[in-house]
């Protein structure tokens, strides 16, 4: 099991083995939404707030 730091509060998060780039995970400590920027090595960043816009 891999680990990474929460980009918001620094807490250590346990990351699932089937983690994918782009996944959004919630920090168990501070509740922030984090985006998986990379999996190997794992990099997390704040997940952007995004409005719902869709195309045709």
């Amino acid at each position: 099991m891999t680990e990474a730091e929460c980009a918001e509060c620094g807490a250590t998060l346990d990351l699932a083995d089937d983690l994918e780039t782009g996944e959004i995970i919630d920090c168990g400590t501070c509740g922030a939404e984090l985006e998986v920027i990379d999996v190997n090595p794992p990099v997390l960043d704040r997940a952007p707030e995004l409005e719902e816009d869709w195309g045709e």
């Binding site: 782009g22 959004i24 939404e33 995004l50 409005e51 719902e52 816009d53 869709w54 195309g55 045709e56």
Partner: protein, 337 residues
């Protein structure tokens, strides 16, 4: 007439009749005082085989009625013939019309012809939408402003309408920020998907439309829109055509008629007798929003955007009747104000 397709002779005959002896029926209030477009003072310009003299200026000092923006679908279920005849009818009687069209089904068909698969994603709120990667955006540009817009413009010209096809890129007609990242739900997990070529319309070049309308043209508008990147550059990106129609209607203060393959918005989508006639108050609008399911959800959101943006009314109505636009403007379907 009970037919659903017309020969060119039938269209022109109906057109003639309507211009000459529109016989004081319930739809009279739809038109201006009947000022028919007069030939341009500067003479000498193209007149194509349909007999349309381009660029005629209005002599009636302007329309009393707001323009009509008609959203026609591209989906297979919707037959444009009735709408085309109705556009010709309205224009011949002096009403300004802007046609907006979609066509996502045709984009999928072309992707498949090329041996490729369209990508669809589900948003966290359950809306299913296209994810437009780079290749899909190329095909999008081939199909929407390319094949569909060219064909619809020619079809309207055959019906006697002086149509001019435009996409949101032309003159920055529809512009706004590109949204390259989108939140999706995939295999039950929340994800961010990057590389989407879509955007949100924030601005409409109403002046371009008004110039063309004032010269007697009928703009035929489609997506893509002009998407602004973070570095300031612009690129064509996908946008929802119902929302594009809403943005145009808002910018022009028009009545928006959204033609679809059902008769309107149903309180209970499985029960055809529960058609909602109209929604004029916030409470009535709320119940319409609650009632809408599936593809109708997006249309109701677009309707709200249109009204907030300045449209005078939005009517969601059946495309597959003989006079779908005039019917919508005179009570058919669901009218939201």
């Amino acid at each position: 007439m009970t037919q659903s397709t017309y020969t060119r002779e039938e269209l022109l005959a109906a057109h003639e009749q309507l211009v000459d002896n529109d016989c004081g029926t319930a739809d009279d209030h739809l038109y201006t005082d009947g000022g028919t477009a007069s030939p341009r003072a500067d003479g000498g310009s193209a007149s194509d085989a349909s007999g349309i003299s381009s660029g005629a200026k209005r002599t009636d000092g302007g329309s009393r009625e707001p323009p009509v923006v008609v959203k026609v679908g591209g989906a297979r279920a919707v037959d444009p013939a009735g709408a085309v005849a109705d556009v010709a009818h309205l224009v011949a009687n002096g009403r300004e019309v802007v046609v907006v069209h979609g066509g996502s089904t045709a984009v999928d068909d072309t992707l498949e012809d090329l041996g490729e698969e369209p990508t669809y994603v589900e948003t966290p709120s359950g809306v299913v939408g296209r994810f437009t990667d780079e290749r899909a955006m190329e095909v999008f540009s081939m199909v929407m402003p390319g094949k569909l817009n060219t064909d619809l413009t020619a079809t309207l010209r055959n019906a006697g309408v002086d149509a001019v096809g435009l996409s949101g890129v032309d003159g920055g007609l529809l512009s706004g920020k590109r949204k390259s990242a989108v939140r999706v739900v995939e295999d039950g997990k929340k994800k961010i998907k990057r590389g989407d070529h879509s955007g949100k319309i924030e601005s409409v070049n109403a002046q371009l439309l008004e110039t063309l309308l004032g010269d007697g043209y009928t703009p035929v508008v489609t997506v893509p829109m002009l998407g602004e990147e973070q570095d300031g550059s612009v690129t064509p990106v996908n946008a929802d055509a119902d929302r594009a129609a809403a943005a145009v209607a808002g910018a022009l203060g028009a009545e928006l008629v959204v033609l679809t393959d059902v008769s309107g918005i149903y309180k209970n989508p499985d029960d055809e007798t529960t058609l909602i006639d109209s929604a004029k108050t916030p409470e009535e609008l709320k119940s319409v929003e609650t009632a809408a399911e599936g593809f109708m959800t997006k249309k109701v959101m677009a309707a709200k955007e249109a009204l907030t943006g300045g449209a005078s009314a939005v009517i969601v109505s059946d495309a597959n009747v003989n006079d779908p636009i005039v019917s919508a403007l005179t009570g058919a379907g669901t009218r939201i104000e």
